[in-house]
């Protein structure tokens, strides 16, 4: 099966062809829009599927790129384990390869780490059609440059990920979600940063419209102690799990509609984002204040400047139109490194041209 994928890459590389790497297409809308390249032949990863190795006592799972994320997570759950970064699927068919390539993490990210933090190894077909393994199946490994983590969030521009090994963790013994009403954004941010500096088992947070939700995960005793320390109103378990699932998958009402959705990634201590004293639009905060979703029709430059001034960056995450310029432009010297990396991995420019930045 993998030979078939490699053959397609080699054929494209030999003829100046280009390929669009695609699993289920659950994240087709993410990244630079496919414009001229919409007609590119698709390198469909879904047939290269299946869990290659999983031994719960090793805390590592290895799966092929086309493996449905749902299948992987169900397998882990059956052994009481999970992907700690809670990657969103954004569609029923989301694949492991797409999860790593998009590099998007869910509610647990601020406390547990991102997709890249859990990548231990990957197999990659580069633009020459060479199939190589980087990293490995062990938690500690510093042999060679960490190419496998570089692939997380690369949107396929360096090559086709055929297989990944991910660190997994046990599902927490206990979990509780607390709700706090009537909190201004600034107050919520102050509390979240203060709590994050204390030994509390925080595992997720969300603030919108004056309401803060906080999730605690860990040992029974730790969750119990934190509940009494923090106060708030305890959500029933079923409500809590649907609340966090709706946040993770962006099916919550905040995310509905056509207004552009901006992802503002800033230091958690940044004060509420504003332009000339005005708020940016509807806002939803996650990750202890470090991730701020904004529904806004303000110009991209203005939003980027607000994020930059706060010490972060802004991504046009979802938009109805096909405007280019989804990601914050890179400093020229960093862009230069990106261009040289692209040339080293994919000299003929076979993979996902322009998906991360125009020209890459």
């Amino acid at each position: 099966m993998v030979d078939d994928l490699i053959a397609q890459v080699q054929a494209a590389a030999g003829t100046g062809g280009r390929l669009r790497i695609r699993g289920s297409g659950s994240k087709d809308w993410y990244g630079e829009p496919w414009q001229a390249s919409d007609a590119l032949p698709v390198l469909d990863t879904r047939a290269h599927a299946g869990i290659v190795d999983y031994d719960p006592s090793e805390l590592v799972v290895t799966a092929r790129c086309g493996t449905p994320l749902a299948e992987l997570e169900a397998t882990l759950a059956a052994s009481g384990q999970m992907l700690a970064c809670e990657p969103p699927r954004f569609g029923p068919g989301a694949t492991v390869g797409g999860c790593v390539s998009a590099g998007l993490s869910g509610p647990r990210r601020a406390s547990a780490g991102s997709v890249r933090d859990f990548v231990l190894g990957a197999r990659l077909v580069n633009g020459r059609g060479q199939h190589m393994a980087f990293g490995g199946q062990v938690i500690k490994n510093v042999a060679g440059y960490d190419v496998s983590r570089l692939l997380a969030g690369s949107l396929g521009i360096l090559g086709l990920i055929t297989e990944v090994s991910l660190k997994v963790v046990p599902v927490p013994v206990a979990e509780a979600t607390l709700r706090f009403d009537g909190l201004e954004q600034a107050t919520a941010l102050e509390r979240l940063n203060r709590w994050a500096g204390q030994p509390l088992p925080l595992s997720a947070s969300a603030w919108a419209d004056g309401t803060l939700h906080v999730r605690l995960s860990g040992a029974e005793a730790a969750v119990r102690a934190a509940r009494s320390a923090l106060g708030g109103e305890l959500l029933p378990d079923a409500d809590a799990s649907s609340f966090w699932a709706a946040l993770r998958e962006q099916s919550a009402p905040f995310f509905a509609g056509d207004e552009p959705l901006w992802r503002m990634s800033v230091p958690s201590i940044a004060p509420p984002l504003a332009l000339a004293g005005q708020g940016l639009g509807g806002e939803l905060l996650e990750w202890g204040g470090a991730l701020r979703w904004t529904r806004s029709t303000l110009p991209a430059d203005a939003l980027r400047e607000a994020a930059r001034a706060a010490g972060g960056h802004a991504t046009l995450f979802r938009a109805a139109d096909t405007l280019s310029g989804r990601f914050t432009p890179l400093d020229p010297a960093l862009l230069h490194i990106h261009q040289r990396l692209k040339a080293e991995f994919d000299p003929a420019g076979v993979f996902n041209p322009g998906r991360l930045y125009p020209g890459l």
Binding site: A110, M132, I139, N141, Y145, A152, I269
Partner: protein, 492 residues
């Protein structure tokens, strides 16, 4: 990778230029002054550099790199020099660039839970400075009292608590670094991610070959209210290994999980007075941390699993002093090896934990084959082994056997599905074993990464990634020689 050609200006011209660029005392060029820099923690390899430069500021560091690039002279970055793989072994025709004078803690932000520090700041100094805010920096390599954060970034250092708290790559938010072009770049930042490719992920662990770090922002985390450690004794090393697997499979992630075999505990005990059970074939140190209630709950769960898994006795630290003693023994394993033997050679492979029994049996056979002792300490939670081969460097036969013994262990790590280095880095020490772990195409892709950051091939050339030529040579020697006399030496 081709070495930058030495310009005709020569050594003297570069040294005078550097002396003009930097304050008095920042450029060392006498043999006597440079002796302390001739090796890092891998003392088997000693080499005087062309000159040793100690910039005090980022501007001086940039000027040094620019001067070296213009002269076509390689630059070898060095932190505290505690590395164990020869990553900071000087280049005979290169400048050794020490960050020792850049050792200021620039900012501790207790609300953001970050520390911004210069590269020469010691690992432990960060936690000490953050302590008054109830915060600390989690990665704790055994050398943390001396090793620098710049070196930790270069090596992606781990420690005894990284199963739960992660490696350097998981705890560094931002690195400011200078490329061989002289550009000062920011990788990562104050937010949890950055636009574009995750270059920070590849910079961490790149052994000073992609850019030279001038500033690091690390994540600080709340100090747990309490930590307690179980010392569990086992009559058999394999049973101890199975106990580790049972703990993990039971959903327990200990804050620290270390194994020492009997030769290791007996080696350490007279030195550290840790209170280890010297009759046990192996001991496990298993730590829980968190709130007092959480620790009590976890210690009870761990104790139950360890007993069911065949522990012959359990001792739980009754005080912080006793817990520190348990760890002091483990953290002093390397110095203790130096006490019982003229020299020791510390290996650093990682294997899938389920192969531990096989590995330890193979090491026992190698002890017979090479007629050398090899106590084992082991980061059991993450499969990272540190066999300590005891030898005498003054005896050429002993040295050669130790190196061949080490090579055998590393190659077995690869064969068992692991890696030649878990946390010490490749440097020059394991460069031949990289030929075994990575085929030519992957090694060439690594060189591509190197070229993308350092098109001049200026930074730490010849480390970490072996050339095709070198691997071909190594393959031939393996065929003809069996035991290789000096695997670290260039042979072409």
């Amino acid at each position: 990778m081709d070495m930058p050609a030495r310009a005709a200006t020569g050594r003297e011209a570069l040294v005078s230029r550097l002396k003009a660029l930097l304050p008095v005392g920042s450029v060392l060029d006498t043999e006597e002054a440079q002796r302390p820099y001739e090796c890092d923690g891998l003392t088997l390899f000693r080499q005087l550099p062309l000159a040793t430069v100690l910039p005090s500021t980022e501007a001086e560091l940039v000027a040094t790199i620019q001067a070296c690039r213009e002269a076509g002279v390689p630059v070898v970055p060095r932190g505290a020099g505690t590395g164990l793989s020869g990553g900071a072994t000087p280049h005979p025709e290169g400048v050794l660039l020490s960050t020792a004078k850049m050792s200021r803690i620039l900012d501790i932000d207790p609300v953001a839970r970050t520390a911004r520090v210069q590269p020469g700041v010691r690992n432990l100094a960060i936690s000490e400075a953050a302590a008054r805010h109830g915060l600390y920096y989690a990665p704790d390599p055994s050398s943390q009292i001396a090793c620098s954060i710049g070196g930790n970034v270069a090596e992606n250092s781990g420690g005894v608590h990284c199963l739960k708290y992660g490696l350097t790559v998981h705890n560094v938010l931002r690195v400011r670094a200078v490329t061989s072009d002289g550009d000062v770049l920011e990788f990562g930042g104050g937010a949890l991610d950055s636009p574009g490719l995750d270059l920070l992920a590849v910079l961490v662990g790149s052994e000073g070959m992609l850019a030279v770090t001038t500033e690091v922002t690390v994540k600080l985390i709340p100090r747990p209210q309490l930590a307690r450690c179980i010392m569990a004794s086992f009559a058999d090393v394999g049973v101890a290994g199975d106990a580790v697997a049972r703990l993990i499979a039971d959903g327990i992630i200990p804050a620290g999980l270390e194994m020492m075999d009997q030769p290791a505990t007996r080696m350490v005990e007279p030195f550290a007075n840790a209170g280890y059970d010297l009759d046990a074939a192996a001991i496990l140190l298993c730590e829980a941390d968190g709130t007092p209630e959480e620790v009590e709950e976890e210690i009870a769960r761990m104790s139950e699993v360890l007993r069911e898994a065949g522990a012959t006795s359990l001792r739980v630290s009754a005080s912080e002093a006793e817990r520190m003693r348990f760890w002091a023994g483990r953290k002093n394993a390397f110095p203790a090896a130096g006490r019982v033997s003229p020299d020791y050679y510390c290996m650093d492979g990682t294997i899938p934990r389920r192969r531990l029994g096989e590995m330890l049996r193979a090491i026992q056979q190698m002890e017979v084959k090479y007629d050398m002792r090899c106590p084992n300490v082991f980061h059991a939670g993450d499969g990272n082994l540190h066999p300590l081969i005891l030898f005498d460097a003054n005896d050429p036969s002993s040295l050669a056997r130790a190196e061949a013994f080490g090579a055998d262990i590393l190659e077995l790590c690869v064969a068992l599905g692991g890696t030649v280095t878990g946390e010490h880095g490749v440097g020059i020490e394991k460069i031949n074993q990289m030929c075994v772990q990575f085929p030519a195409e992957a090694r060439e892709q690594f060189f591509g990464v190197k070229r993308a950051f350092d098109p001049h091939g200026l930074l730490n050339p010849g480390k970490c990634i072996p050339t095709l030529h070198r691997c071909a040579e190594y393959g031939r020697m393996k065929v003809h020689g069996g035991a290789v006399p000096h695997p670290g030496l260039e042979r072409f």
